[in-house]
């Protein structure tokens, strides 16, 4: 499986997935015209990695604004990680947010709610 490297745009986050490192990174805002088109490659990649790589998968999230369909896509990805975790796979996630924007941290908590795998939420930067 090849790595994913989708560059960040005004309306979509940077999405990177490294097969060798077992790391998925998503960073930025997400309100794309067609979220299916944007996220399907990632969903396919994660699915394939979890089924065939036989190694741990870590996901680094640094997302700010998500529109409704992006929320759904991210939830699907997290559900896949949860499924892998319940099946004995090693998965983890870390969501970093700017401490000046506390509400993003609250939203990360909402996403974490149904996840039983290690899911860290970290405030970064100095509070001004």
């Amino acid at each position: 499986m090849t790595d994913l490297n989708i560059p960040q745009s005004n309306s979509s986050p940077a999405i990177r997935a490294s097969w060798a490192d077992g790391v998925v990174t998503m960073k930025g805002d997400s309100y794309p015209e067609n979220s299916f088109e944007l996220f399907q490659p990632l969903i396919d990649w994660v699915d394939s990695y979890l089924k065939t790589a036989g190694r741990a998968l870590h996901s680094e999230l640094e997302l700010l604004y998500l529109n409704t369909s992006s929320i759904r896509a991210l939830m699907d990805v997290l559900d896949m990680l949860e499924g892998a975790h319940v099946g004995g796979g090693r998965v983890s996630a870390r969501w970093s947010y700017d401490s000046a924007n506390e509400r993003v941290g609250d939203l990360a908590e909402e996403f974490k709610e149904d996840c039983t795998f290690p899911f860290e939420i970290v405030a970064t930067g100095d509070r001004r």
């Binding site: 604004y65 759904r72 939830m75 509400r103 939203l107 909402e110």
Partner: protein, 259 residues
């Protein structure tokens, strides 16, 4: 059928008994018992298969219900998270709106807001008649305050003056920070005859002490006041107010000039 096994045992006992060997009923009983046993096995198998089908159907129903519940739960979460993102955006929007129209230090409307507001007032007066007055007020010797006490004190004085000016306003009056230490007033519905009184009010409000400014240096203001004349542009009215302010400064400051 509680007598079932018992009956089976009794029949089997008779069939196995050597004493019954020559009984003419024995072959008939044997045949009947064999048929009974076959039917019994058939009924047992049918029951078992039927039970399995029923269980499979029940499991399928349960998994549909479970799936449905999970989807409902997911949709509820998506809606909740989406609502929160939306309210986050709305708040950001409100904050940007405020920042783009207000001055951070004094919390007064900024120059852009005042320009828009004055243009609205001009259209209003041109359309419906009436009048309005503009006053440009500038803190006297403000540079000395900055030079003597530092910029932090300068900022405090500006914030204190803004607070006092705000208190002097009536409901429809607007006061904005026009420039560094310059404030612009818009008095809708006022005319030439009220200009002196308005200027007095601006100057007077600085003289009533606010306990929060106790350790700040006292300041005075020079004021230029003018009435909008129909047909002219905002810049023309402002230029007249500015010239009046300049005359107030030249005449020794801490005074108002009406133009």
């Amino acid at each position: 059928m509680s007598e079932g096994p018992d009956l089976d045992l009794r029949v089997e006992a008779i069939l196995a008994d050597p004493a019954a060997k020559d009984n003419p009923m024995r072959p008939v009983l044997e045949e009947l018992y064999a048929r009974h046993s076959t039917l019994q096995r058939l009924v047992d198998r049918l029951t078992r298969i039927s039970d399995q089908f029923q269980r499979a159907e029940r499991d399928r129903g349960l998994s549909y219900a479970e799936n449905y519940q999970r989807k409902v739960r997911q949709i509820e979460r998506i809606v909740r998270i989406s609502d929160r993102y939306q309210s986050m955006l709305r708040d950001t929007n409100e904050r940007l709106q405020l920042i783009s129209t207000h001055d951070e230090l004094t919390t007064l409307p900024n120059r852009r807001f005042m320009q828009e507001r004055i243009n609205q007032e001009i259209s209003q007066v041109e359309r419906n008649g009436g009048s309005f007055v503009l006053a440009l007020a500038d803190i006297d010797h403000f540079k000395d305050i900055n030079d003597t006490y530092g910029h932090a004190m300068g900022d405090r004085v500006l914030a204190g003056v803004a607070r006092n000016l705000k208190q002097s306003l009536r409901e429809y009056d607007v006061c904005g920070r026009w420039g560094g230490e310059e404030f612009l007033f818009l008095f809708p519905g006022c005319g030439a005859e009220e200009m002196s009184a308005l200027a007095d009010r601006i100057q007077h409000c600085l003289k009533s002490a606010d306990p929060r400014d106790a350790d700040s240096p006292r300041v005075t203001m020079s004021v230029g006041v003018t009435e909008f004349r129909r047909g002219e542009t905002m810049d023309e009215t402002l230029k007249r107010a500015d010239e009046a302010l300049y005359r107030a400064k030249s005449a020794g400051r801490d005074r108002a000039v009406v133009a």
